[in-house]
């Protein structure tokens, strides 16, 4: 829109107007109220955060904690090794996410299917989800990482990286399958009825009508799971995989200085915080869209 033509609404009516005196008063008092609120927020933040910081740095052990956890020069020395370890975490996350996506989709489709032929698989999928949601991830990693090589089956890998990833994929698939399934169940039955009345078969209805809408709805919770997955890949370090956590552990045990752990934590945050912010934005958008649809 050019500057010489004033803004207009959809029906072409001019949007500029001269506010009444009462409106100007209201605008002024709204401004005063928001200034007051900003002042209160600032004062309370300074008070709360200031006293927390004071509590920590005036504590009797602060001096030694500062040396063993926040040694800036040692932290920057180990930055390279820890960052190299983090690359392992990121790679593992990407590979695991793809495998989880495929496996979880199969599980969710089995659990929601009504086909008679698939009955045994439906039971198996349900049992699978129950089991892997109920066992701590760390235990699954230990059981698979140490149990599978002990079987000494020929041709089966002994790579801790692959075994660790497998354990993560097995556990996360159970969670993600439930998220996808809840998305499928959240689609109103009238959508299915409309598709079936057009002659689409059950699988066609799932593929063209239900799944596209369901997956769109579960994107925000799945992004949440992606953040959790990235952090949980750190658990495979227990098998000896040299990821960021393991690299930090090695570095700190050499000098009895824990700064490498803090370094690793900061590096994880550098990825997870933007990802979390992004997830929040996607979620807000998705809620807006669903509200708009409800109003239409």
């Amino acid at each position: 829109m050019s500057n010489d033509s004033p803004a207009r609404d959809n029906s072409g009516r001019a949007l500029s107007w001269v506010p009444s005196e009462r409106e100007l008063e209201r605008q002024a008092s709204r401004k005063a109220i928001s200034r007051k609120k900003a002042l209160i927020a600032t004062v309370s933040s300074v008070l709360v955060i200031g006293s927390l910081v004071r509590l920590v740095i005036t504590s009797p052990g602060w001096k030694s904690v500062k040396e063993t956890f926040f040694d800036v020069s040692y932290g920057s020395d180990v930055l390279g090794v820890v960052a190299k370890g983090l690359v392992v975490n990121i790679r593992l996350t990407i590979i695991a996410a793809i495998l989880i996506g495929i496996f979880a989709m199969v599980l969710a489709l089995l659990r929601t299917s009504r086909s008679a032929a698939l009955t045994p698989f439906r039971f198996m999928a349900t049992a699978y989800v129950d089991i892997f949601r109920g066992v701590p991830l760390l235990l699954v990693i230990l059981l698979i990482g140490f149990g599978v090589p002990a079987l000494r089956i020929e041709g089966l890998t002994n790579s801790v990286l692959i075994l660790g990833t497998t354990a993560v994929v097995l556990t996360y698939s159970a969670y993600v399958a439930e998220v996808i399934r809840s998305g499928i169940l959240s689609i109103h039955p009238s959508q299915r009825a409309a598709a079936r009345s057009l002659g689409l078969s059950g699988p066609q209805t799932m593929r063209h009508v239900v799944l596209p809408q369901a997956l769109k709805r579960v994107v925000p919770p799945l992004l949440n799971d992606l953040v959790a997955l990235l952090k949980d890949t750190g658990l495979v370090s227990i098998l000896g995989v040299t990821d960021a956590v393991r690299a930090a552990q090695i570095a700190s045990s050499r000098t009895f200085n824990y700064t490498p752990y803090v370094t690793a934590a900061i590096l994880f945050l550098l990825i997870t915080i933007p990802l979390t912010r992004y997830t929040d934005r996607v979620l807000a958008k998705s809620i807006d869209r669903q509200n708009a649809q409800g109003a239409a």
Partner: protein, 247 residues
């Protein structure tokens, strides 16, 4: 030749007898209008004909073939039946054109180009060609319902089932939807429709059936059932419709 024959239909939902020994015949190219209060069984009858609900007794024939047989391929039956719902039920993730061409392409295996052409012809005929690439949430209720009707006739069904297609609409949008139904009737499309619009029922109905408690109490041409009802129940219903300002 009868498109549809319903014989002694019975349907219960738990302890609730919704359709009770109901029989109905729809000759080809005719419109049968179901009237009656909410809960009288109109929607259930339509859902049973479309095999969305399983009947408890009786039988349903489409073009002389029994479709209430459990062995029947329901997808194949529904290929010959069009259904339009009160709440439109367009697919929100698809454009208008995709909504209309989904079944022709996936079920009837028509080429994409041909399905598109046929859909555009229908959209042009009903003044919706400019909405082809819009998504349903950008359309008014009347436009959405017109698209839903076009979607259901795009597969050239033998029989069209319309379930209170104007009940969810703003009064000023009702007519644009009813005029499509009138056009389809003029084309010779056989249809069964449930409606609360008595004026419209009078215009399109070859036969009007008044339903109460899951049975047809009175049937005949609109000039009889709506204008000069014989049964007390029908009179009572129409009086209440009149009081509500809908006649």
């Amino acid at each position: 030749m009868n498109v549809l024959e319903v014989k002694n239909l019975r349907k219960t939902f738990e302890d609730n007898l919704v359709l009770n020994d109901l029989s109905l015949t729809v000759p080809d190219h005719t419109a049968t209008v179901l009237i009656g209060a909410s809960g009288s069984g109109k929607s259930t009858l339509l859902r049973c004909i479309n095999l969305l609900d399983t009947i408890d007794d009786g039988s349903i024939y489409l073009d002389g073939k029994e479709i209430s047989d459990p062995e029947i391929n329901v997808d194949e039956v529904r290929r010959n039946l069009g259904m339009v719902f009160q709440s439109f039920n367009l697919f929100p993730h698809m454009s208008v054109l995709e909504n209309i061409t989904l079944s022709p392409i996936r079920v009837h295996k028509i080429s994409k180009a041909q399905a598109r052409d046929q859909a555009m012809t229908l959209l042009r005929r009903f003044d919706l060609a400019d909405k082809a690439d819009q998504y349903p949430d950008r359309l008014s209720g009347g436009q959405q319902q017109r698209v839903a009707i076009i979607r259901s006739i795009a597969v050239k069904p033998r029989l069209l089932l319309l379930d209170e297609v104007t009940s969810a609409l703003d009064p000023v949008l009702v007519n644009e939807v009813l005029s499509i139904v009138r056009d389809l009737k003029a084309d010779g499309m056989a249809m069964v429709l449930a409606t609360h619009e008595m004026g419209f029922a009078t215009q399109v109905a070859d036969e009007v059936c008044f339903l109460k408690d899951g049975n047809i109490i009175e049937r005949g041409p609109a000039s009889q059932v709506i204008s000069a009802p014989q049964q007390d129940e029908t009179k009572d219903f129409l009086r209440r419709v009149h009081e509500a300002g809908r006649l």
